[in-house]
């Protein structure tokens, strides 16, 4: 958090060959973009396990950005397509968990597209900023609390019926 104003925290998974290199290019070109994104390098966007994405949200990320090579350009032929498939499935699932679609983003960024890294990050930060904090760790705490109180109620015999009716 900077100057007291809330800013989102975004975890990015960038593939080694295209998007990570593009982010290096953005650096070498001294482009300026929002400081909210933390980049984790993987060899291929195909390595991004849906669990990584869920884990990032669970641990407090407000958004997750995945960067891979353009279709047809994957260093490993087709890892990016595998990521696209998982991404489509996740996009169907996440809203049901209360995670808005704009919080998960997949971008094809080639090694030459430093400008696109800048744009994707700034655009994503702006959109997630508008959505506000996701606060999964806090929600987990609330749910744990709720579960605990329900369990307590269920173990108290006279309130058992109420608990079931609920």
């Amino acid at each position: 958090m900077t100057n007291g104003e809330w800013t989102p925290r975004i975890v990015a998974f960038f593939c080694n060959w295209c998007t990570y290199t593009a982010a290096d290019l953005a650096g070498v070109s001294r482009l300026k973009y929002a400081a909210n994104v933390r980049i984790i390098r993987v060899m291929c966007s195909g390595r991004v396990d849906p669990q990584f994405i869920l884990e990032a949200f669970a641990k407090g990320a407000d958004g997750v950005l995945i960067g891979g090579c353009h279709p047809n350009d994957c260093h490993y032929s087709e890892g990016n397509y595998k990521m696209l498939r998982r991404f489509q499935l996740l996009r169907r699932m996440l809203p049901e968990m209360g995670i808005e679609n704009d919080r998960l983003r997949l971008e094809w960024i080639s090694a030459a597209e430093g400008e696109k890294v800048k744009w994707a990050i700034n655009d994503m930060v702006e959109k997630v900023q508008a959505l506000g904090s996701l606060g999964m760790p806090g929600r987990f705490q609330d749910w744990d609390q709720e579960m605990k109180s329900l369990e307590q109620k269920m173990t108290t015999p006279e309130e058992k019926e109420v608990a079931y009716a609920h």
Binding site: T2, C18, Y20, T21, I39, I40, G46, D49, A111
Partner: protein
């Protein structure tokens, strides 16, 4: 993680002069990291990649019994290797090292010092958490096939092939056109020395033709590339020339004998300014010295009806074969050099200059042929309308430094425009006026600016301004029948109309139209302008992101002949370094199956693009062939039981990294 030993991490944050320290409070980050669990020592230092920086790591490993090392500095693509070596020299397995990118991904891209420092802390914290889980690994060794494929037979490909062949390496040189020589073979003279292009190029061309280590396949294209560094399997398509290369002796009797008594069809080598017959040789010094038949214009091939006087002339040599078919050749090579060159900007795209509308507007390459003694006019400057020009205008930067077409400077046009100005003056009436219209004169190079001075003395006019249009509408009687060049003379400060008889367009250099298809075939990247992307613009200018594939010459970006030859030599040396080492070390980032957890579901098997995963029927388990695995990790992410692991990118390592980047608020 080794449970017997306590984790002792050494953390180093680099100032990189002021590159990092100017935007990130490095002392603050070091202080923060010092308190993280497992950190035995945390330092900041001016230049970690310097010798003292690396020695610091080595000494600390010994003095402080470190067993993990984290360096926060530039991109791992730049210095990961350096610090792994330092870690190894300190006595640790090099993979007990992890690198944090706080320059390209942090200090260089942010403007708020506090936010940049916080980001550095988060990234450092992730690395600290992750590195504890690192395992000792060994580099993978892949043997290198000693043969080399060179694609493109311009001066770059020729020089690379000869360098390799002279060192005793076997080279396949594949050229798309019927002859090698590329663009250089069509130039008249070369700047700034004005030595004749053919005189310096053709000896090298014939050296290629006669070198026993070089297999020259002209009129051929690479059709498919499979495999990886050290072991590429390449398919080359040999287009039919309808003449057997091994039987043709280059006597050219067949050309004389052709039923077309006079050359009738536009001659590609002369940019269509001259004519050729359906059976032809591109130019006298073509290599190989073998004729070919153009199926589009040959009566026998087109209509199936001809007296076949060429066959009669060839007589018992029987080199002509109208039934010749395309041939596919398979070769094994260990390394590849791409020297596929460039194409010149299509001048028709700039309608204002009237190329293709006004017949006396020429491209520079056409003028090269026009002033060439062996060109279509025998070196006489005669226009398409048969006139000799009395005034000539040369427009610089056509398709260069222009937001509407190409933004880049093509680097050679100023110099070749000067050269053409000189040659046109030499080949025309001494009273001929020559105007150069330029934006900026760019003459950096040995002897280049001196050449510019010489041209100024020769009385060539230089007008600073981008020409607005070349038009045939006359405003005054003197302009009637002329081409009028409208330009704002930015030094004189007014708009001028200059009537000329001939306009030369100094067209820029562009990537080939099929550059994207070619780069895909070789699994490379292109820059935004479409030229092949080098691994590092300064430190790895001829390497690509694909190991074992090198680039040289204008396919990487516009450059002149000296630079092209230097790059070709560099690419040859890079290939040789691999060949002579006999193997290449590769990241051990391969995947492996933990058989105890594998349920035998086979989900992973079809996912692998390299067919590295197979299913062992008797054990009902998947197994990964390490030699085939390229380390993408797609199978790891897809395994439902979590039984596939990837070295360097283990699940727990990434989970820890996620936790780490989010741990710092």
């Amino acid at each position: 993680m080794d449970n017997n030993n306590e984790i002792r991490i050494g953390f180093y944050i680099c100032h990189c002069g002021s590159n990092i320290a100017g935007m990130v409070d490095v002392a603050d980050v070091a202080q923060y990291v010092e308190k993280l669990p497992g950190v035995a020592l945390s330092r900041h230092y001016k230049y970690m990649c310097s010798d003292p920086g690396q020695e610091l790591i080595q000494q600390d490993i010994k003095d402080h019994k470190l067993n993990r090392v984290v360096v926060a500095s530039c991109s791992p693509l730049l210095h990961e290797h350096t610090f792994r070596q330092a870690t190894e020299k300190g006595g640790l397995n090099p993979f007990f090292f992890h690198m944090v990118n706080i320059r390209e991904h942090d200090s260089w891209v942010h403007t708020d010092r506090q936010a940049a420092t916080e980001k550095a802390k988060a990234l450092a914290s992730a690395a600290i958490q992750r590195v504890a889980y690192h395992k000792p690994l060994e580099m993978k060794k892949v043997p290198i096939h000693p043969d080399v494929l060179v694609v493109g037979g311009g001066i770059a490909g020729i020089h690379a092939a000869l360098t390799l062949a002279n060192a005793g390496k076997k080279v396949y040189l594949v050229e798309r056109d019927p002859t090698i020589g590329g663009h250089m073979a069509r130039f008249d003279k070369t700047f700034p020395t004005l030595d004749c292009a053919a005189c310096i190029l053709t000896p090298k061309m014939s050296a290629v033709g006669s070198n026993p280590n070089i297999t020259l396949w002209s009129y051929s294209e690479v059709a498919e590339v499979k495999g990886y560094v050290g072991n590429y399997k390449v398919t080359v398509r040999r287009k039919p020339r309808y003449v057997h290369e091994d039987l043709c002796v280059g006597c050219q009797e067949c050309i004389k004998a052709c039923v077309y008594k006079e050359p009738k069809f536009p001659d590609e080598f002369n940019e269509g300014l001259g004519k050729r017959k359906p059976i032809y040789i591109p130019f006298p010094q073509a290599t190989p010295q073998v004729v070919l038949i153009d199926p589009e214009t040959c009566l026998q091939l087109k209509l199936g009806k001809c007296k076949q006087t060429c066959v009669a002339a060839c007589a018992d040599r029987q080199a002509i074969d109208f039934h010749q078919k395309e041939e596919l050749k398979q070769i094994d090579v260990g390394t590849i050099i791409l020297a596929t060159g460039f194409k010149t900007f299509d001048a028709k795209r700039l309608a204002a200059y009237g190329y293709g509308v006004h017949q006396n507007v020429y491209t520079a390459l056409e003028v090269e042929r026009l002033v060439n003694a062996s060109g279509p006019t025998g070196g006489e400057v005669v226009l398409r309308d048969g006139q000799k020009p009395k005034a000539i205008g040369i427009i610089h930067c056509v398709g260069s430094r222009d937001e509407k077409t190409n933004r880049w400077c093509s680097r050679v046009c100023c110099m070749y425009s000067l050269k053409l100005a000189h040659l046109l003056k030499e080949h025309s009436d001494p009273a001929t006026e020559i105007y150069n219209f330029y934006i900026d004169m760019r003459t950096p190079g040995k002897g280049y600016d001196e050449f510019y001075d010489k041209l100024l003395d020769e009385g060539v006019h230089f007008i600073r301004g981008r020409v607005g249009e070349v038009t045939d509408w006359a405003f005054t009687p003197e302009e009637e029948g002329k081409l009028v060049m409208r330009v704002e003379d930015t030094l004189a400060g007014y708009v001028r109309r200059i009537p000329v008889d001939m306009v030369v367009l100094a067209t820029g250099l562009e990537p080939h139209t099929d550059a994207q298809a070619v780069r895909r075939m070789f699994n490379m990247s292109c820059g935004s302008e479409g030229f092949f992307l080098e691994r590092h613009p300064k430190l790895a200018p001829v390497s690509t992101f694909t190991d074992g594939v090198f680039i040289a010459g204008c396919c990487q970006g516009p450059k002149d002949i000296p630079d092209t030859v230097a790059q070709a030599g560099a690419a040859a040396a890079e290939a040789m370094a691999l060949i002579d080492k006999k193997y290449i070390e590769q990241e051990p980032n391969t995947a492996f199956v933990d058989e105890t957890d594998c349920s035998g579901c086979k989900s992973c098997v079809p996912l692998c693009p390299y067919s590295a995963i197979s299913f062992v029927e008797d054990k009902k388990k998947a197994v990964i062939n390490e030699a085939l695995c390229k380390g993408c990790g797609t199978c790891v992410a897809a395994c439902p039981s979590g039984s596939i692991h990837q070295n360097l990118f283990e699940d727990e390592e990434i989970f820890k990294e996620i936790e780490g980047v989010l741990a710092y608020d």
